[in-house]
Symmetry: C2
Subunit: 84 residues, 2 copies
């Protein structure tokens, strides 16, 4: 793997795994009042588009990062709708 | 501009502008208790890396989207540190 792709994967690892502590915090506190519903829904729609963009430009970091981000943010949206 | 780049810009517009309602909400409510500090700091570090990755693969949507996202998330981190 070349260095540029490695940088992309490092970027993707950070912006993706970042949502793990948020998901755990929201799950444990059962509170998502301070999170904007508009932010969450718009962000998730955008992440889905990034996923397809990544497929089209054949950028594996973009595809993998956004695929995992979807898997972490959709449950946060679920908690937001359930608790806040 | 080709359709693929247009899709990238649409994706970037959504994941970027998504942070505007969050920033406004945090600013108005003066509360960021439900947002994870680990999420914010890790996410911002990742967005900075995406910015450089975008420069290296010459993807203008990646560069522009992550540049603006930095400009919207750093103030949210400031409010988080100030209020929460």
């Amino acid at each position: 793997m070349d260095l540029v792709t490695l940088l992309g994967f490092a970027a993707g690892a950070l912006t993706t795994l970042a949502f793990l502590p948020q998901l755990i915090k929201t799950w444990k506190s059962r509170s998502a009042r301070d999170m904007s519903l508009t932010w969450l829904t718009t962000f998730i729609a955008g992440v889905a588009l990034w996923f397809f963009y990544g497929l089209l430009i054949e950028s594996s970091p973009v595809v993998v990062a956004n695929g995992i981000t979807l898997g972490l943010t959709v449950p946060i949206l679920y908690f937001k709708l359930k608790y806040a």
